[in-house]
Symmetry: C2
Subunit: 204 residues, 2 copies
């Protein structure tokens, strides 16, 4: 939300190497996007979170936009790894909904989807950023399609469209949850979905 209180510090003040600093900046950028949004993710605010100097943003990443893209890369890497792990347990639609529910809860708690949504929304005001963000969102969409194919494949359904809708719901629920500061409606929705999943599953 809109910066109440002290921002999250992700690194203690010692004398680290280059790799530590890069990581600290990426983590700080994630935190900044999550807590202050795209507009609040400035070189200065990120560096303050990382406990290092503002100039290091440009030394290590060349520009703020590049650092934010690196943050998006990192979030994608972490989550898709977790998603793959979770998807391997899934065989049918009810299971998928249950797993998706748990994972989405994690995503909201950790603010990962916030990072996605803020980068997508923010891309419109930074020339050239859009295509780079799109490139990094693509794996999420591919994953969604793979998950849908796994449980609805061979049913003649247009899994492309279903996957697209799922990503849209994901982002939209995040926007609303962020706006309200309330994740309960999203949770309730997943509960509804889990009661309907067997029904839909039996239709196919």
């Amino acid at each position: 939300m809109a910066r109440p209180g002290t921002p999250t510090r992700v690194r203690k003040k010692s004398s680290p190497g280059a790799e530590q600093t890069r990581e600290a900046l990426v983590d700080a950028a994630i935190a900044a996007l999550r807590e202050d949004g795209f507009g609040g993710a400035s070189a200065r605010s990120i560096a303050a979170r990382a406990g290092c100097n503002q100039g290091l943003v440009f030394y290590h990443f060349g520009s703020v936009a590049n650092l934010l893209l690196a943050a998006l890369d990192e979030v994608s890497r972490r989550r898709l790894e977790e998603y793959e792990r979770a998807l391997s347990e899934v065989d049918d639609l009810p299971q998928l909904v249950a797993v998706a529910s748990r994972i989405f809860q994690e995503d909201l708690d950790e603010g990962y989807v916030t990072v996605l949504a803020e980068m997508i929304g923010g891309a419109s005001s930074t020339p050239g950023l859009g295509p780079e963000v799109a490139k990094r969102i693509k794996p999420w969409r591919s994953f969604a399609k793979a998950a849908v194919d796994r449980v609805l494949g061979g049913t003649g359904l247009a899994t492309d469209d279903v996957a697209h809708a799922i990503v849209a719901v994901y982002l939209g629920l995040e926007l609303l949850a962020q706006l309200d500061g309330d994740r309960k409606p999203a949770a309730a929705l997943f509960e509804q979905a889990s009661t309907f999943a067997p029904l839909i599953g039996s239709l196919t």
Copy 2:
């Protein structure tokens, strides 16, 4: 009425009246949010679009944030009016999907949902803006619920959750369409929905 010697000046010729300027600024703010996003909607960029001076933003609205909220108000007013008109033609789920499809297409073409999504996303980086935006999004949610109730009411379904999901899909599809510069996936999704609507309708 006008006394002799003091002709009533309806409007100065060289400069527009206050109301015209306000409207121009609001329209310009909508355009700025749509084309340049929240981050690109500065007092200077908006005033340039409106063809007037930057200082007038503060004279008429006090702050940029207030102008953006006025823009959101105007978008809500325009669209909800249109929505109400459209909803009155609707009696069942297939009709609702058809009407929603047409309206959503309009929303995308005119960039109305972009304004919503940008304001929601941008609110995280401007202290105090979140609650104000939430207040203005509420009518959209109420409308969605009313529409859902109209076609699914009395079926025991949790229409609150369904309406919440619909708003989420709406915002999410917009984010993705904006990112890709492509509205076709959203259109395809509505087409899918219109083939499934009768099926769901018959279930209830």
